[in-house]
Symmetry: C2
């Protein structure tokens, strides 16, 4: 009597926006752990913009998901069977089980979650990869000084919300950009940003100028496209632009030629800008600092976060397609299984 | 009996390439130094690509030269009269007297040149602003590690020649790009670069791939335009791009949209590039280190340099127009007056 497991595989590489038919939900027999392996049951699956890159071929910092392969992703899982000396049944671990209900692991990519730090789902959000992306990109590249102005887009999202709050903790002025009035209100009133603008506003660039009377010293780039175009003219001399994502461009097929492109390098020179791309693993050495500071700020109530939960693995493709359009409001998670089996 | 002095003033702001008619050589009566002033006689005038920027209006790191104003420029001068307690007749000083035979100064922008470090003209080249641009941009932003590959364009010029040689001193592989066989031969055989490519080669990008089999870790950007386009695909993960100049773009009128533009930010992200603009004064604190290291390397024969001398202030406009097209071969200087009056 083999139990059934479920997984979401990549069927075809999307041209432009992913479609439902680019994914397939498959059932398969629950595998048994071999020597040195654990069997994991997924509780939470994180959906993140970078996954769009893994669906495409072409140069990136990671290999693409193969056609027919399970979609990759960070997960919080319960160990339900263990042939590994380091893990026992019932351990809650952070791992990369991907878009599936169960997975085998040799334990190398697993980290036991300290439930004392917060709800285990935060290991995928504010205390996980998105939070650490915000923390390291802002502090190690952006280096905001007191009274400086930090602008971040997708400000109600997992990364952006942390960026603005950390900027505020460090004494900088935080201005968010988000999609729609509800998100902007939340960013201002709940997250405590100094201001938040709607990226759908046709006068975004003019509004930015008003919201940033002293110009922009740090632009934390996680969206690209038209938002970058609106921000660009307001960058101050010596501004820093950490680049961790370009969600607005991920579905581009023929890359459009942005209006700002010709002047980009000239402004790099005349304004002495620093533009630096990074991914969170570049700052692995900062993980201890990150957990210490962020969990403390969470406990002190200085750092707020919001989760946006989609129920059931079957709905992961739709949730992911929504994420790329900003349909989520807070950190996008998929509830794959209950906290305890 | 008032002695005559001469100066070159800006008549009109060039559209595209500067023309002879954008400049005018004027004679004027030699002024007398007031209280606290010195009268300078120019020996050497430095011509540098940044001067093209000063001819135009529009945002930059420095104000433009006004119409009718004397063209700005770094100079080596002799003090020929002094009402300033810090200077005596016969002092040789580095200053910014501009494109003229004589100038008054209150002494604040003057620095006495230590002739023991080398010929006084080197204060405008390898031991001056171009040398320090190379030194700080390469070491403080580019940070080449042993065995890494450094690429620099305008490799026979004042900045580029120093960049490649310093890279070599630091144990990196230096690949130059220059205009024509003579310059490339010089860069390889005299300056000791590991390789040098002709930027006129239509297969520049393919040749770069051959010359840089391990990719490019540092691209010292001082030209922009098509060279950047050729270099860009070969940048390695974590490559650094110090940007000190864009000479190939300075005469652009309607900014062309370069082919690489759409992918620039995407590559910044996927390759985790650092692109940083700077001007030499940003690193003023490094001046002591610069003079110590560079003068030592000069004395030890590790650092070679070449001067390209145009005789007479009247020829400065033509020499400058040539510089923008790469007609010079080495650091472009104008001999304005004799070493000693």
């Amino acid at each position: 009597m083999s139990q059934q497991a479920k997984r979401v595989v990549l069927v075809s590489r999307p041209k432009g926006e992913p479609k439902a038919s680019d994914f397939r939900v498959e059932e398969y027999a629950l595998p048994a752990p071999g020597q040195g392996q654990v069997l994991l049951r997924t509780i939470w699956l994180s959906l993140d913009p970078y996954m769009r890159g893994r669906m495409s071929e072409g140069p990136s910092y990671a290999a693409p998901v193969p056609i027919g392969g399970v979609m990759e992703g960070g997960t919080v899982c319960e160990v339900i069977a263990s042939n590994h000396p380091g893990f026992v049944r019932g351990d809650i671990v952070l791992g990369r089980a991907g878009w599936q209900t169960h997975a085998l692991s040799d334990g190398k990519d697993l980290r036991k979650i300290d439930a004392a730090l917060g709800p285990v789902s935060t290991a995928l959000g504010v205390l996980g990869m998105p939070g650490m992306t915000a923390y390291t990109g802002l502090l190690d590249i952006g280096k905001p000084q007191p009274k400086e102005t930090v602008v971040v887009a997708a400000a109600s999202g997992a990364v952006g919300s942390a960026v603005g709050q950390i900027a505020g903790i460090k004494g900088a002025r935080a201005v968010g950009i988000a999609g729609g009035k509800d998100k902007c209100d939340y960013v201002k009133s709940e997250l405590g940003f100094d201001d938040c603008l709607d990226h759908r506003d046709p006068d975004l660039s003019a509004k930015l100028k008003e919201a940033c009377p002293d110009g922009i010293d740090v632009y934390f780039e996680n969206v690209g496209g038209e938002v970058f175009e609106a921000v660009f003219p307001h960058l101050n001399a010596f501004a820093r632009v950490p680049v961790c994502g370009l969600i607005a461009q991920y579905n581009d097929t023929a890359p459009s030629v942005p209006k700002w492109a010709p002047s980009l390098m000239r402004s790099v020179l005349t304004k002495r800008l620093t533009i630096r791309g990074f991914i969170v693993s570049d700052f692995a050495a900062r993980h201890g600092d990150f957990l210490r500071d962020m969990s403390q700020w969470l406990r002190e109530g200085k750092l707020k976060h919001r989760e946006f939960v989609t129920e059931g693995l079957d709905r992961a493709p739709a949730a992911f397609m929504g994420l790329l359009k900003g349909a989520n409001f807070g950190k996008q998670l998929v509830r794959v299984g209950p906290d305890r089996a």
